[in-house]
Symmetry: C3
Subunit: 407 residues, 3 copies
């Protein structure tokens, strides 16, 4: 612990982290507790479980969780571990069930988490003591966030600020058109750092940069004349449509902003054409740019006029990270007619693969004795936010551990 | 060490173990010493080495051992590590050799373990100091048990009690008809816990439950009317044949009992028909149920009228376990005539695969922060025995370490 | 640390190392610092980068390094880690570049290591603070040795003594005819110990022993009459040609000697025939035996009249080791005319595979509780040198750590 504390103490804001943060197993184990079991983590979209009894499973740190819609349309989250001997209860990524039955000994839980049946347990067994353990859950216009901690941090500020940006895209009226899972050979924080800047975009992402501007702020000091003319024009359009666009004051925890596309693109596709002819929500105007939204520790999203992209990061080990990407379109869009999966997914599949290579090389290089924390560029200000937040979470956790015998 | 001691102290008998027992590398390393190098472990059947010079290798904890029959028909066990620079001497699973020759520098040991030849060692080299290290060995009607500890625990009680049950099946007059090795992605203790109860059988093992009764005791409180009528009838038959059947008082270390099959089955096959027409030993009666015998840490066996099943567990890492299963038939049985390997092995191959999935899901679920030790059902009394024994072995080892500088 | 220190203290010279030295992750991590980042390590041959801008990458302990020839024909070595966020800069094994451009954000370094370009870094960014980190580099007639330590140990003694043996073979006028990389499932020290003795050759290396004598010294006490007649004859030939041959006093750090081939072999090939008709350097005489040269921690070489073999060892983990072998011939030799790659490489490809199996079995056997350090044979005197050197390096490092807060 001393080693981690010393590294946190000598850390300089605005610089990347010391090598051990990216490679050490003990630090990884601590992160699972201090970060992933301590904050709101993206769990999925409620459109994935439209009917009563529908459930999905998600991995939050070391934990599998079940997100399930009950008969009263209420959505719950539970730790996916039977109260008998701990087996996973739901072993698939999704399904539908009237009751949650453990496949091991058929302990049976209601969708409200209470234990309804457990065979051979004898007369002094009290089933009320063996309900599934709940996980806190919040829904933001369809986006499900879960928190394993018994004392979750505030969610309201995020909800209040980000809600108006997302609502017009009506995520709750979408469906998952495609899901992709890749394992990156890099520490999860390098995957996030890679995602939080577009300093590398021009050199690496030909498909993405057809539509995406590298500038992260409306008044980006790097902005070229094209961008500086485009921005006020688009702002006028958006305000006419009542669409919020200014960067929200999310501090180090979240970010939300609407930015225009370049090259007259309507969507994040290889040629800027729409990925889905049926627009989201009640949109009639296609040329909306996109809302970019990020929430720590590892959830980034793009909300266009035609599709939504959810990305989330699950650390597997110090040197492996699962990246899950979902493409969502209007719930009534018809595959083959309104959208083509290849056209819809090509930009981000290519971008994710390119980023995986960059993050892997970054991971390998930070093992070197030659590596020392380097200075972030001005356009990497979101990495400063991220590492500052990360360090604070770790520090707070270590302080709490010290004040608490029961680590 | 403190962490393990605390977990052992707060452990509640009758409940599953805390998560770290199933996942922690340091605990795994300790188990190799405290458990696998400290008690009698099943090493094979002496029918596997019928001729002088025949040997097999087995893995006991971290150690490869050689079990070899010498010219005087005496069976010995040695640690499979050359006294020169430590190489494995026998690199195959079985073979025949007049002398044990290290493939590295041809150091040559007699079957009695003494060093017979070592080239280029100079004149002050004393070969008598470099014999192979012996492993204690006991044979129970053909079943070989080995113990790496220099002070092996008692074997006589096990031998005396279990011997009469096994002897009529004459394991020493069998041959291995088939061997199967699978690696389960689960902690070895979860593999054992899975094996020690049939609470999960009805829900998971259609092939096994054709013949096997889920009831573990003659007076099982769950016993249905069918079982309660069957049991006394079978006991009368067995007593007429002089076959012992009552559960032996093996405490937490071993178990031995004869139980009947259901569905008029004669053997543990998918349809209850015999797996081998040539019966074991001197049996003329096929309808004998089976003797179920278990010995800690990880050896279970079934002795039917027609075949014997030996299963043993070798931990590979906290999350991987090798399960070795051998099917033995009468030494004179003829493949294709008396038995068909597919028919012989189908029930237990299927059952092992089903159990591997259950154990893996159990393993994954116990990683959750939602997992806490859960209560064993009444029919899981053997898990209470197992975990109590396990905890005692670990506690004793830790006490000995404390009293001994030389860990 | 205490455990390592105790093991070092009780170590007996002339015996193999205790088990943990071959298997413990903490010891492995320490070795990367104490050994591989603290001494001269073979990096390649300068003939691999003949033209300005040519570079190769090599792995030294945990570090990737770049070895590059600049426009002034000067060769430099740098740690392959961008000073921005640490990414690998050169991601291929070899290439040619006017400048070293990081693929992540295009930070651009001159071949002299200075930072020439870094976009978006703001006005108070001082590029002179962000040059690539140099690695010390020495060239011995073409052989490149690098040292990551800021205070490299002496190189001159090695250079002075070994130079005259190597120079006539003119490694600097060769080319790589073939490179082979295999991963051995054994600790790197067992790979070295295997290489440092030929006690095992007769039993394992039929291809190698056609040409190679098992005797390591001109006055080897094991020498047979054939060898004892051959040696003085060959010495006379060599002295006529002005070729040095006596073993150099390299102590525990290096070894260099010229020894004859047996069976009238001209080269280390399966039948003793030349591997390359075009002889090295200015040789006109083919029958020269070979110079055998070894440098700690893991570089062995053979210099024949027709080809040079460079072998070097890169530890990957306690139980995996990369072995890189390169076969070099005269720079003007023509493939298909002067040499055939299969004939050139067959002996050492076979030998390396045979050694990989021996080292793996040695690795497995040393995990046993039955393993204790065994006595080296007289012909294994180079293993005594190696383990003595190893222990000293580890001890010195641990003393320095104690005297230095900043591990």
């Amino acid at each position: 612990m001393n080693h981690i504390e010393n590294m946190l103490k000598r850390r300089k804001s605005g610089f990347s982290l010391e090598s051990d943060f990216y490679h050490d197993q003990a630090i990884f184990d601590l992160e699972m507790k201090a970060i992933f079991e301590n904050d709101w983590v993206f769990g999925g979209n409620d459109c994935e479980i439209p009917k009563p009894g529908d459930y999905i499973t998600a991995t939050i740190g070391r934990n599998s969780i079940i997100i399930v819609r009950d008969q009263q349309e209420q959505i719950h989250a539970y730790l996916n571990s039977c109260r008998h001997r701990g087996s996973l209860i739901c072993t698939h990524k999704k399904g539908n069930a009237n009751q949650l039955v453990c496949p091991y000994h058929q302990w049976t839980y209601g969708l409200d988490g209470t234990l309804k049946h457990a065979g051979e347990m004898g007369s002094d067994f009290d089933p009320t003591q063996y309900s599934l353990k709940s996980v806190s859950l919040k829904i933001l216009h369809g986006l499900i966030y879960v928190c394993i901690s018994k004392t979750p941090p505030d969610f309201e500020n995020f909800k209040t600020q980000v809600g108006p940006y997302i609502k017009p895209h009506q995520p709750f009226r979408t469906k998952v058109a495609h899901e992709d899972n890749i394992i990156e050979d890099a520490n999860w924080k390098l995957v996030i750092e890679n995602n939080r800047e577009c300093y590398h975009c021009a050199g690496s992402h030909p498909e993405l940069t057809y539509s995406l501007t590298a500038f992260a702020m409306p008044d980006d000091p790097r902005g070229d004349s094209f961008f500086n003319e485009l921005m006020p024009k688009k702002i006028k359009d958006w305000e006419k449509l009542g669409l919020p666009h200014k960067p929200v004051p999310g501090g180090e925890k979240f970010r939300c902003i609407r930015l225009p596309f370049i090259n007259d693109a309507l969507s994040m596709t290889v040629d800027g054409s729409l990925a889905c002819r049926k627009l989201l929500g009640d949109f009639t105007e296609a040329d909306l740019g996109s809302v970019r939204m990020f929430h720590v520790p590892g959830n980034w999203n793009h909300f266009g006029s035609d599709y939504i992209l959810h990305a989330s990061v699950t650390p597997l080990s110090p040197d492996q990270t699962l990246l899950t990407t979902k493409w969502l379109v209007h719930e009534d869009a018809v595959e083959g007619w309104d959208y083509d999966v290849e056209h819809l997914t090509r930009v981000w599949k290519a971008t994710n693969q390119q980023d995986a290579i960059l993050a892997h090389n970054n991971h390998l290089g930070t093992k070197s004795v030659g590596y020392e924390p380097g200075p972030y560029a001005q356009s990497e200000f979101m990495l400063t936010d991220f590492t500052n937040w990360y360090a604070k979470m770790m520090e707070n956790y270590l302080v709490n551990v010290k004040n608490n015998e029961d680590l």
